[in-house]
């Protein structure tokens, strides 16, 4: 069970982690500033294991992988959006941050959520509603199940489409 922190449409990567903080390999530094321009209270309210829920086009803008890395390092266990910006979506799965696309979700701030990544089934315990996430292409599903592209390529050495 995880608590939902809900944001609006078109959250860009500059607001997830501002460009001025991206030039580092120290991930804790990223996590310390995650979402700060968008939601200055974020680090106070967020508890590791909580989830982020957004509307359309989450993660638009820059290709910075620091955005999903900052969220993952801060303890975000899942991001749900109606749909994601494409580079963010690939990056999140590549670095092992779980993401699910649910076009019809009705999740409100504070809702308690349960989810199963493999099936894409999400239960809103507060509203007593189930959602089904869009299916990933098989290659992406395998990358997500392996925990990211690094472990995937270590294991398979090459891309396998099916």
């Amino acid at each position: 069970m995880a608590k939902a922190h809900v944001y609006q449409d078109n959250i860009d990567t500059d607001r997830i982690i501002p460009g001025k903080y991206t030039k580092t390999l120290d991930l804790s530094l990223l996590a310390a500033h995650v979402m700060e321009d968008l939601d200055p209270e974020f680090s106070k309210r967020f508890v590791s294991g909580d989830i982020i829920v957004a509307g359309d086009n989450f993660g638009c803008g820059s290709s910075r992988e620091q955005a999903p890395l900052a969220l993952k390092t801060a303890g975000v266990s899942l991001v749900i959006a109606r749909f994601f910006a494409r580079i963010f979506f690939r990056n999140a799965i590549n670095i092992g941050l779980p993401v699910l696309e649910i076009p019809n979700h009705t999740i409100q701030p504070g809702d308690e959520i349960e989810f199963d990544l493999a099936s894409g089934k999400v239960v809103n315990l507060t509203q007593k509603i189930d959602y089904q996430a869009n299916q990933l292409p098989p290659v992406m599903l395998t990358i997500m199940q392996e925990g990211g592209l690094v472990p995937y390529l270590k294991k398979y050495k090459d891309f396998i489409l099916s």
Binding site: P18, G19, D37, I87, N94
Partner: protein, 415 residues
Amino acid sequence: MRPQTIAEKILSVHAGCPVYAGELCIVPVDGAMATDTTAPLAIRAFDEMGGEKLANPEKFHLIIDHAAPAPNERIANLHQLMRKFATEQNCSLFDIGSGICHQVMVDHNTVKPGDIFMGADSHTPTYGALNAFACGVGSTDLAAVMLTGKIWLKVPQSIQVILHGQRLQPGVSAKDIALEVVKQLTISGATYQSVEYHGSLLHQLSLSDRMVLCNMVAEMGAKTGIVSPEGLQLPYSYNPVFADKRANYTRVVEINTESLHPKIAIPHSPDDVHDVSSYVGTPITYGFIGTCTNGRLNDLHAAAEILKGKQIAKGVRLVIAPASRKVLLDAIKDGTLQILMEAGASIINSGCGPCVGTHDGVPGDGEIVISAANRNFQGRMGNPRSKIYLASPATVAISVLNGFISIPKEMQHYG
């Protein structure tokens, strides 16, 4: 064979079989690059994947441009890491002052028509100006390209943008067209898709103009942007890739470019686009001309044409970052730089400059910036309490001259 878009054609040639929108494919990559924002993580992921040698060192490029020269020791050490990697792996490294990654790749002819290029920067689609399939990726995807020389992709659907007309109004440039397209398609309207540019105006558009059009497809969430090669003049011979008649498009956007007026994107979203005329008189204190969108020689010419023999308004700053060393040298040679400096501009190193808020001109609290860049998200230039308007270099120049947002109506088209 079913008719194909340009993206489908380029991907088919690389995949070795015909592929169509929605299908997955694995393709060899003709070129790849990373910057000082993305390369350190890519190098780390490459190491973690067990990478020892780059699959194709001659096709891989590192560029130090986003925070260059280094503003602090942390970034200086990341630059060192990139230099060391380039030496060990024998790949090219464009060090500080070389310019913005995208301009450097084009200046050095690293991308050719029909190529597939993967760049660890979201504005990589810029090379679609060269009739190539160029796509922005994150660091880990890029590490996989470094290791395998390949990438997996979903063949994108395409949106056709038809630019009707023979010439633009005076004071209107490719940037105004790009802003109009972003307005019509919106910030998410081309997500996962390829934006393909067609139309009679293409014959009038320079390579620089085409780069502006493809650059800003990133602001609509597109996977790539590609200009049909009509009128594309390159210093070498090439095989152009045209779309088939009756290729399948999800949407067609038609723009009568002859009646287009100068455009401006207002804070805080690049798709919140209006006619500049609606914002005339808005006071500004800071103008910025540069970036992969509008830091080229013709952009500096447009500004110089307006600022020649004049002084920018009191209390206003103008920062100019030429897009590459080549642009800077050309602007020195033809006297453009002197005109701009005499008008009061501060010229900074060739690179991203203040575009991404790391260094070289962060705005203060409450400041209003007019910028020739591509993004005006809150905090983009390093201060969430400032506001950024996006416009063409001509609009920026006339605005810093007056101290408020103004229209560059007297100008001739500088394409």
